[in-house]
């Protein structure tokens, strides 16, 4: 993630940025204390989580359906969970510490068993 620092005679003039949307390479997932965990079996694909996510971190397929969460960027605000009509069944929060070192399956189990 470390950006390449350019010399004064290498930077684009006017501090212009020609690489649209390049902030994607800056990962804000590390800010997270808690993470949303998704259960596809309970999800009704209403996409409320998508429309309310401040960090465009609801992953979507070519049909506009939710396929998961972008943990590289999700800041763990919890808005998606709060707005999910199937809250605590389709989407729930789990402490990062409790997710550490676990497989996706284990994390899901841990999150939804509570």
């Amino acid at each position: 993630m470390a950006e390449k620092l350019l010399d004064w005679n290498e930077v684009l003039i006017g501090a212009t940025i020609k690489d649209p949307g390049n902030s994607r390479s800056y990962e804000t997932g590390s800010w997270r204390v808690e993470r949303p965990v998704w259960n596809p079996d309970e999800c009704i694909q209403c996409m409320f989580c998508w429309v309310y996510c401040p960090d465009s971190s609801i992953l979507v397929d070519e049909n506009g359906k939710m396929t998961g969460i972008d943990y590289d960027h999700c800041k763990g605000c919890g808005i998606c969970v709060e707005q999910c009509p199937k809250k605590s069944k389709a989407l729930t929060m789990l402490l990062e510490a409790d997710a550490k070192g676990k497989s996706e399956e284990e994390i899901r189990k841990e999150a939804f068993s509570k």
Binding site: E3, I17, P20, R24, T28, V51, G76, I79
Partner: protein, 313 residues
């Protein structure tokens, strides 16, 4: 309005990796607005005012923008976009582009109600084609939650603090919608990210006007207002349901209220979850909440009457 699944398929104009606080609704509003824009029909160019949103999405060498975007200063989003739009007219005239381009200026309350009001008024009066979106988070958040003329009555900010003899901001919030109404634009509206469909409809409508339009959007700020990040949308919804933030349009001067809560909640419901209002709930400060309620009711009644009258320009 298309289904959310259809909108979710679109390439997003604002991407992640930005540095807004977790749960900040600046980006929620813009994501909804850009999703609403009919980008098969036209392209969007944005000018932003200095503030939380701008510093978080344009931090060299990173940009979170997938659409052309310019920031120049705090008080001039409107005059900056006016310049871009003027150049667009030239490009069209000279055949340098055959594209349909629509313009958006975005600022928060500081850049709109206060320091940017003159530039906004001027650009509207000149009739540039642009949609001005004000993400109103009720204070100068980027510099640490100082009061603005959009700060509501009673709210404690770092320059209108709650103290032993003064309890937060003593003046009511500026009615910017009425200020803008005085410009007799074709379309102005107030919206909330909690009511995304309504917000999207408004943005789409506004972008189809060949002239200046304005949308005032409540932008709950977890950091400045003092509520847990996950509550951001709930807070916006409470503002709507208490009529603190009525959802309405002024179309050619005619008021259309888009949402009338069946059960209009007392303002306490909105105030309670926010630290900036905590002191209002202290013993002896009941009158401040009463005053708050009075201001909200008065404005709501006035809006209802205006709607009923059906008067337009």
């Amino acid at each position: 309005m298309a289904l959310l699944n259809d909108l979710a398929k679109k390439k997003e104009g604002l991407v992640n990796g930005h540095r807004l606080c977790p749960g900040c609704t600046h980006s929620v509003i813009m994501r909804q607005a850009l999703a609403a824009a009919d980008t098969d029909k036209y392209d969007i160019v944005i000018a932003a005012a200095t503030g939380c949103f701008e510093v978080s999405t344009g931090l060299y060498p990173y940009t979170s923008w997938n659409v052309p975007w310019i920031h120049s200063a705090f008080e001039n989003a409107a005059s900056t976009i006016a310049g871009v739009e003027a150049m667009y007219k030239v490009w069209k005239k000279k055949g340098k582009t055959n594209k349909d381009i629509r313009f958006i200026a975005v600022a928060s309350d500081g850049g709109t109600y206060d320091i940017g009001l003159q530039a906004l008024s001027g650009a509207i009066e000149r009739g540039h084609q642009f949609l001005y979106i004000c993400n109103d988070n009720n204070a100068y958040q980027n510099t640490g939650n100082q009061r603005s003329s959009a700060t509501p009555f009673g709210a404690s900010t770092t320059t209108s603090p709650n103290g032993t003899i003064i309890q937060g901001k003593t003046q009511p919030k500026k009615d910017i919608m009425s200020v803008l109404e005085g410009h007799h634009m074709q379309y102005i509206a107030q919206a909330s990210p909690s009511n995304w469909r309504d917000l999207m409809d408004k943005v789409k409508k506004a972008l189809d006007v060949n002239g200046p339009t304005y949308i005032n959007v409540i932008e709950p700020c977890t950091t400045g207002w003092g509520f847990p990040a996950h509550k951001a949308i709930e807070i916006a919804q409470l503002a709507v349901d208490t009529c603190v933030w009525p959802l309405y349009e002024v179309v050619e001067g005619k008021v259309v209220i888009n949402y009338k809560p069946k059960n209009k909640l007392p303002v306490e419901e909105y105030l309670k979850p926010q630290k900036r209002f905590a002191h209002l709930f202290k013993k002896g400060n009941e009158h401040l909440i009463e005053e708050y309620q009075k201001q909200v009711d008065k404005h709501w009644e006035w809006l209802l009457k205006r709607e009923e009258s059906g008067i337009s320009y």
